[in-house]
Amino acid sequence: MQGGATTESRLARAIIMTVGLGFLALFLVMPLVVVFGEALKEGLAAYRDAIVEPDALAAIRLTLLVAAIAVPLNIVFGIAAAWAITKFDFPGKSLLITFIDLPFSVSPVVSGLIYVLLFGAQGWLGPWLEQHDIQIIFAVPGMVLATVFVTFPFVARELIPLMSEQGRDDEEAALSLGASGWQAFWHATLPNVRWGLLYGVLLCNARAMGEFGAVSVVSGHIRGETNTMPLHVEILYNEYNFVAAFAVASLLALLALVTLVLKSFLEWRYDYHGKGSGH
């Protein structure tokens, strides 16, 4: 049988697939197995104890709190930025597009240091904040700020290509029928981008809960107070408390797995809807 131009020989295909799958197993599946293996090494009881321990619970609560503030903020910022960029022409537009990518291109540690520099005791606003008894660095507000910064691009990046592809026709149609700007957004824009938005929110949330670098810089690592889950894992690990460290880490791994499943589902919906519309 004559193969097409892109059909490789059987051997080449086997080699490529082995390399691909081997890489996947070595770098993705194995760590996952190790995390759960180590976490459950001393049985379910030890696993349970590590998670319900007060400091661990505090870390879980704080992680959820930070995400619960950062994600909604970034939904609003992301939609606003995408809306402004795709529906209006204004000076400085390309600059804004570049800045949206900044958190991706800058090291998370630097992102954290920016806030220390700004709000820390030796920072620009430090003295003023101290006078008014407002603590941002080494406290929850700083961690929220750092997380917001790091996770800012997810929603905006997801929406910008989608919204620019869809153009302004639908909004204009809504407006011409007497809708207010808000109604046009709610009834025409948002439904068109809802799957993309959900996808962005999902990734944003995963990163918000898993962020280590930036949060680590501004947190101060106060046990039970300013430790998120990733920070808590690090502390436990450095204390040679491996079972507890991996137990908490397994929760983060679970979050990743759930995110992946939801992401695949959204991609499937997204595609399905994108193609069926016949616009």
């Binding site: 204009e172 149609a173 809504a174 011409s176 029928l177 007497g178 809708a179 009834h187 068109n192 616009h279």
Partner: protein, 351 residues
């Protein structure tokens, strides 16, 4: 509703999209904005609608200056080129949209909205399809949903951007006739944008021919076709033959050959000019003197006549004429052609 445009100008960056447009539209008129792409016709329509704002000039509805009024407050019906139906809503919800977004005190009760939507769907002959989604409809059906949606807010003015552009030829022809009937029956004033001259000639009461952001001619279809005001209009509307000539002493010459022009052909001033005539405004003559000698390259039937194509000897240029059936010359034959109706426009067309 009557519309008056006063000195409308619009620029996009350094590009002048519209320059000093003056136009009046009579109540109940069906007006076509005709021109090639980039002629500014869509921009003009969007300015009338309030989707775009002019840099200079004013827009009047019924004598009232509404230049600064937003599209949402103008109460016009706008049909978009690609329909812009809301994909996530049923056909009925799409049509109801203009009513459901009204403030509570202006909004009709739900039952009344339902009745009106049903009436509109019946009007556009889609009475059974209210529960469908736009993706489940054909192009022609979507177009009619878009129209019903625009009519739901009871507009006096209906604006349509390339309304038949995305439809196949058969559907287009049916929809045209149907739209014209609807316009007359509902007593609307309508303006539509098109690049299709047949559409404009068949449908409109008057045609506005535009090019490069200015109006070339505003007239009835008959006058646009018979008395094009400029070389551009002659060229753009209908089929035409075009020859570079020189006018001197009230006579036209093609190179050194004198041309016998039909009686009553107005001649522009001395100098280079362009001669235009339509294929059906020419005859084959026996005498070459003052006529155009051509060598026939093609002869084929063309709705009731024979379309003859020939190469003009002096020029690498094809001439097309319509000869009566049964009297067609053979391919390769040398014949002489004389325009029976023609127009001359000053200039070479290169400026």
């Amino acid at each position: 509703m009557s519309i008056r445009l006063d000195n409308i100008g619009k620029r996009f960056g350094g590009f002048s999209a519209l320059g000093d447009i003056d136009l009046e539209v009579e109540p109940r008129e069906f007006l076509a904005l005709l021109g090639p792409s980039g002629s500014g016709k869509t921009t003009l329509l969007r300015i009338v609608a309030g989707l775009e704002f002019p840099d200079s000039g004013r827009v009047f509805y019924d004598g009232e200056d509404i230049t600064d009024l937003k599209v949402a407050d103008r109460g016009v019906g706008f049909v978009f080129q690609h329909y812009a139906l809301f994909r996530h809503m049923t056909v009925a919800d799409n049509v109801a949209f203009g009513l459901t977004v009204r403030r509570r005190r202006d909004r009709p009760p739900r039952a009344e909205i339902r009745d009106r939507v049903q009436k509109l769907l019946d009007l556009v002959q889609l009475g059974q399809l209210g529960a469908r989604y736009p993706a489940q409809l054909s192009g022609g059906q979507r177009q009619r949903v878009a129209l019903a949606r625009a009519l739901a807010v009871d507009p006096k003015l209906l604006l349509l951007d390339e309304p038949f552009g995305a439809l196949d030829a058969r559907v287009r022809k049916d929809l045209r006739r149907w739209l014209r009937e609807l316009h007359d029956r509902m007593g609307l004033t309508s303006i539509f944008v098109t690049h299709d001259q047949d559409e404009a000639l068949e449908l409109a009461d008057r045609i506005v021919v535009m090019d490069h952001g200015v109006i070339e001619q505003v007239d009835t279809p008959q006058k646009i076709y018979d008395e094009p005001a400029s070389a551009f209009v002659f060229d753009f509307v209908g089929e035409s033959n075009q020859l570079p000539v020189t006018v001197s002493g009230g006579r036209a010459r093609l190179f050194d050959r004198p041309l016998a022009l039909p009686e009553g052909t107005a001649t522009p001033g001395e100098g280079p000019a362009r001669l235009f005539f339509r294929p059906h405004d020419a005859e084959i003559v026996a005498d070459e003197a003052g006529a155009l000698p051509i060598t026939v390259t093609l002869a084929r039937p063309n709705s009731g006549t024979i379309r003859v194509e020939g190469r003009l000897d002096a020029l690498e240029r094809l001439i097309e004429i319509d000869a009566p059936m049964g009297d067609a010359p053979q391919v390769g034959a040398r014949i002489a052609v004389r325009p029976t109706r023609a127009r001359l426009y000053a200039g070479t067309g290169a400026e």
